[in-house]
């Protein structure tokens, strides 16, 4: 990403973000609310179109007029804070929808892969349950399976545990950690400090639309250089 800017009306949300994510990276983005973390994620898969600057995926500039946003989004998985599972489809239906409707994979084949993915997130037995019949933690795990179903180049996590009851946070973080260990490239907006310290390869601190600090988890979270980072980390650890 280079010099990324986004305005919502007169509100300047992103004020020039430069960020590079390598294949296999696990990048955790922290920062106070309203600092532009979610907008940054949404700029990557073009749910929000940046006003200035460029997003590159494997060297291709994707926020270009010639490129269809759908094509970009098909290569990027996303997990939302509110899960956003398709309410009219079963867990299996959620995971296989993209495969069937976009890749044109046959039903049987897609379901085989879908069941394997649900097994990986520990929900093989819940394949036929509708979202309303699942707990928050289970819904989020299905959402993760859905996000990786298309073998994306990167998965974006937008505060995946913030809407969960405390009892479900661990099971979701475990799944994300496992995915990271398997070598998935991911960008995670999260305030889970232990997760950031144990799993992240790099941590980015954002405030007011800018990246203030970037580095190894211990550098940013334990020995922050910047005043804003210090006070933020202190507040989080309280």
């Amino acid at each position: 990403m280079e010099g990324l800017h986004k305005w919502f009306g007169s509100l300047h949300v992103l004020k020039g973000i430069d960020l590079n994510v390598e294949k296999g990276d696990v990048l955790v983005v922290v920062g106070p609310s309203g600092s532009g973390k979610s907008t940054l994620l949404r700029c990557i898969n073009l749910l929000v179109i940046p006003d200035k600057g460029s997003v590159y995926i494997e060297g291709v500039k994707v926020n270009a007029p010639k490129i269809r946003p759908e094509w970009v989004r098909q290569q990027i998985g996303m997990v939302f804070q509110q899960f956003n599972l398709f309410a009219h489809l079963t867990a299996l239906g959620n995971v296989t929808l993209a495969l069937r409707k976009i890749r044109g994979v046959k039903r049987g084949e897609a379901e085989k892969k879908g069941r394997a993915l649900l097994d990986r997130v520990g929900l093989g037995k819940k394949a036929d349950a509708y979202p309303a019949e699942l707990s928050g933690g289970q819904q989020q795990r299905v959402a993760i399976a859905r996000a990786v179903a298309m073998d994306p180049k990167v998965v974006l996590f937008d505060e995946p545990t913030s809407a969960l009851d405390p009892e479900y946070i661990k099971e979701v973080l475990d799944v994300i950690t496992q995915l990271a260990r398997d070598g998935m490239t991911m960008i995670v907006v999260s305030h889970e400090m232990s997760f950031a310290r144990n799993v992240a390869k790099r941590v980015v601190f954002m405030d007011d639309g800018l990246i203030l600090e970037e580095g190894a988890p211990d550098e940013v979270l334990v020995h922050p250089k910047h005043e804003r980072t210090k006070s933020f980390v202190a507040k989080i650890l309280e």
């Binding site: 898969n45 989004r73 939302f80 309410a87 509708y130 309303a132």
Partner: protein, 300 residues
């Protein structure tokens, strides 16, 4: 996500309510018939003999309603969809059209079209066909506007997060429409769509005014030529009910059958909330009929 739902009313109370309601209706009907019979006895034999004569015009009623309803659905979907678009001029035009149709009586629309067609007869249609066309178009235009509102509400009822998730997995606009928005919207709009069909079936009786020989027109002619007014309209009432009531029941059954947890209307009969001003919680619970029944059956 979880919302508080009031507890189910006891099964006994639900059944009791229905029994009481049916009993009252039957009593009323018997009473009316009894008093009618004293002045001029109803000719039940004659009614049984001529019931079949009314089935042919009833068929036309169903046919023209069905055809105009389906074409109106295409029109309604398009208009409703246009109203959800971001392009302002498109939205304004669609909204204006819908409001104009909804804001005028269908009888006036029908007569307006009838007047137009009497000036410009398209092609060389026979009188009967040109009347049928007029009636069909009037009903289609009318239901189109009402269905537009139903579709618009349905499309807009789909949560933003669902649309965003559909975008995020890479579905195109029409892919999202087909695989996510429409399936969810449909479960919400089936009850109002059913209701609209029943309304149109009844509104088709207005076609009698321009001389289309549907059920009501036939009833008018039939009653005048035979003099058996009450008998004919009793039969017509029964035929309309035979068309509307089973339909509503079938749709309600389908809805229950294809219900998905957490989506669409809740089917169970829920207790009405109690008024806070009523500490005993007795006075305002249930329908008038169920309250009456409860009072009758209270053991004290």
């Amino acid at each position: 996500m979880q919302t508080e739902t009031p507890p189910l009313r006891p099964r006994v109370e639900q059944v009791g309510e229905k029994v009481a309601a049916i009993a009252i209706i039957v009593l009323l009907a018997v009473g009316i018939l009894f008093f009618l019979n004293r002045s001029s006895p109803l000719k039940f034999d004659w009614m049984a003999e001529h019931f079949g004569d009314l089935l042919e015009p009833a068929r036309l009623t169903l046919l023209i309603t069905g055809a105009s309803y389906l074409c109106g659905m295409a029109m309604g979907f398009t208009l409703g969809w246009l109203r959800t678009l971001k392009v302002r001029p498109v939205r304004v035009v669609a909204t204006g059209w819908v409001e104009a149709i909804r804001g005028t009586p269908m009888l006036v629309q029908l007569l307006f079209l009838f007047a137009l067609f009497s000036y410009y007869n398209p092609g060389n249609l026979s009188l009967r066909d040109s009347l049928l066309l007029t009636g069909f178009l009037a009903m289609m235009i009318n239901t189109g506007a009402y269905q537009a509102e139903i579709f618009r509400a349905g499309l807009q009822s789909v949560a933003h997060g669902q649309v965003e998730a559909a975008k995020a997995i890479g579905l195109s606009y029409w892919g999202r429409m087909r695989s996510v928005i429409m399936p969810q919207a449909f479960r919400v709009i089936i009850p109002p769509l059913t209701n609209e069909f029943i309304l149109m079936l009844k509104a088709s009786s207005l076609l009698a005014v321009i001389g289309i020989i549907e059920l009501t027109y036939e009833a008018k002619v039939f009653s005048f030529t035979t003099g058996n007014f009450v008998e004919v309209y009793a039969m017509v009432t029964i035929i309309y009910l035979l068309m509307t009531v089973p339909l509503a029941k079938i749709i309600a059954w389908l809805e229950r059958r294809y219900r998905i947890p957490g989506l669409g209307m809740q089917q169970e009969v829920r207790a009405r909330p109690r008024r806070p001003s009523d500490p005993t919680g007795q006075t305002f619970v249930g329908t008038p009929v169920s309250r009456f029944w409860n009072r009758l059956t209270r053991r004290e």
